[in-house]
Amino acid sequence: MARTPLEKIRNIGITAHIDAGKTTTTERILYYTGKSHRIGEVHEGNTTTDYMEQERERGITITSAAVTAEWKNHRINVIDTPGHIDFNIEVNRSLRVLDGAVFIIEGVAGVQPQSETNWRLADRYNVPRIIFINKLDRTGADFYRAAATLTEKLGINWLALQLPIGIEDTLKGVVDLVTMKALIWEGDELGANYHEAEIPDDLKEKAAEYRQTLLDTALSVDDAAMEEYFDKGDVSVETLKRCIKRGTIDGTFRPVFCGSAFKNKGVQPLLDGVVDYLPAPTDVAGIKVALEEGQEEDPANPARIIPAREDAPFAALAFKIINDKYGNLTFVRVYAGVIRSGDTFMNTTKGHKERIGRMFQMHADKREEVKEIYAGDIVAIVGLKDTGTGDTLADASDPVVLERMAFPVPVIDISVEPKTKDGVEKMTLGLQKLAGEDPSLRLKTDQETGQTILSGMGELHLEIIIDRLRREYGVDANIGAPQVAYRETITKSHTEIYTHKKQSGGSGQFAEVKITFEPKERNEGIEFVNAVVGGSVPKEYIPAVEKGIKVQADTGVLAGFPTVDFKYTLTDGKYHDVDSSALAFEIAAKACFREGMKKAGPVILEPIMDVEVTTPQDHVGDVVGDLNRRRGIIQSQDMAGTSVIVRAHVPLKEMFGYISNLRGMTKGRASFSMQFHHYDPVPRNVADEIMAKSA
């Protein structure tokens, strides 16, 4: 593999709402960069990045495929991410390791809910972005309206670098506001070329207006460029590009490109934009070293940053694991140093050594073996024994742990059991491997029924997992109806004293604990405070109290769901010199929890989803009425061309099977998407129903 200098590497993601055209755009990128000799189409099920059977059958992206491409002497590592919210984890972990992203916005609907979610995720990781307003060939497309939703919904300062020439079926090309030239595509067939031309007369005035905004905004990030403008009355293309790159990296503004990937218009200038405006690994600050457990970020003493340097000790982050027919493939982003096949490094997250086996540059499902890999690049490693998503690999001379990844909480459960007895072992193995690949998938055994419970991000997510279990591990499984992942919490404070006493001759058990339970805000988790003074509970028994509560909190007092968001303070207790033990204190703490929680106003929480339905106007009444019947609270109704976008908060429980209902109601003309929004207490009647079921 030819060595690419760091400044000529771009690690980018392509992300958007479902069906905004991410995979179609990625396919064009691969075609134009020469990695693929034909263009795959999502609707024909032959795209390069959607290589899993399920992806090709369903026409959606499930996993983030990593592909390497070359454009104008630069290496672009592209990660095409899924749009469906059920696979949000893929977007999350990809954004974590990328230096830049292309956000694709649909030219008809503008910013959609998943675009918003992904945008916020990119904000969290400070990922520089450029925007591509796609599908301008579609009926109802409107560049200016779609761009306006960037302000309305994302509240960002966007900056047009292009304007469309024509729209819908008359889309011919774009005005490049940097060079003030028209780019006209010669037809819309596969791999169409374009030529430069004068800006059409009817667009000259508009182009001049947008060019002025471009200059005003871009030059404001660079005083030397301002001076060049004052001296000459304009700036060179190089100066303007330098300013755009600077503003893109520091987030002052977000450049906007446009076109239609499907009609092969606008992709080559977008690739130029990736090279010109998105950062090389050396253009960004580097990656933060993780804080110690419980340590808070201190502005006076900021976390150490590892800059992208080849001559530094090796540091890399594992961001994805897949199991395929060749074994375990671990995708890593190298932040510093160099690795070679056969080298040994530390997994500093888990504290053990790992040996690097073979390494591959990935082209979706195809691979090219490489012997060494340098800072800034992305590679897949075969043969790592115990490295999970989010783990750091580092040189033993500088065993840093890089900033960890945050994973979403699963909101839906299903029970799963093999159809045949001999499938038990295969199913357990298969599910463990799938859970190892996917941190948003959790596996547990129901203590009462002995059933295996799979928890995931949505019906589609779990459906795909069961399908993969069948195809990849040969296990046919029976699955239960999807169950909502309820939680329990408390609404008021209560102090409980519990004495565990078993002293009937011989060595007995004795422990007494006094614990105050208090509610916390949503998502604040569980907090333990040890406020024991004077040794009324000896130090060595405190961890047992903590363990007892932690274990018991997994089974709430109302219906057995995990209890979340509360604080418990151990204030006092008693012990016996002979009969007290860690086990006695653990038992006392568990019982104290069971008794105390009942008196602390326990409630059941349910996941509330942010639902967006796009429907033709004549079905709005039906859609809104139906959402109301599902305990939904309508948030907004907005016109988008000839459609109406209805947004509502609806409990997940009421959304099972919604798609078939919606199709029936609107004759298949409406579509919807939903994502987790927050947890809310369930109404009394629903709580009674849930408790009756669990009794």
Binding site: L215, D223, M226, Y229, F230
Partner: protein, 112 residues
């Protein structure tokens, strides 16, 4: 009326910063080189003379002046011949506004 614009005062360099300090003001001079207009960056909140000021700018003698009502940090104040004539989001926009006002014989005191 076209002015000759040049960088005025710059912000204090941050210790250890790699990048050059940014301009705090742009000064527009006439053909004789006399300053006619200024486009001044608004900063804030800043602690100045033991009080937190939400928005401040430098006057032509580099004295810190508190602005009321407060304006978001990073906006620019357009000053023509000692009179504040507007506030803009971007410095170049401020430059054009100053020149436009002067072109109209501008002693106007309109605000954006």
């Amino acid at each position: 009326m076209r002015l000759r614009w040049q960088r005025g005062r710059i912000e204090d360099p941050e210790p250890g910063a790699d990048e050059a300090s940014r301009a705090l003001e742009w000064i527009g001079c006439d053909d004789a080189g006399d300053p006619i207009a200024r486009v001044v960056r608004i900063r804030g909140p800043v602690l100045f003379r033991w009080r937190l000021r939400h928005a401040v700018a430098l006057d032509d003698e580099a004295r810190v002046v508190e602005l009321r009502p407060a304006v978001p940090e990073g906006r620019w104040l357009v000053v023509v011949r000692d009179r504040v004539v507007g506030r803009t989001r971007l410095p170049l926009d401020g430059v054009r506004r100053a020149e436009a006002l002067l072109g109209r014989g501008g002693e106007a005191s309109s605000r954006s």
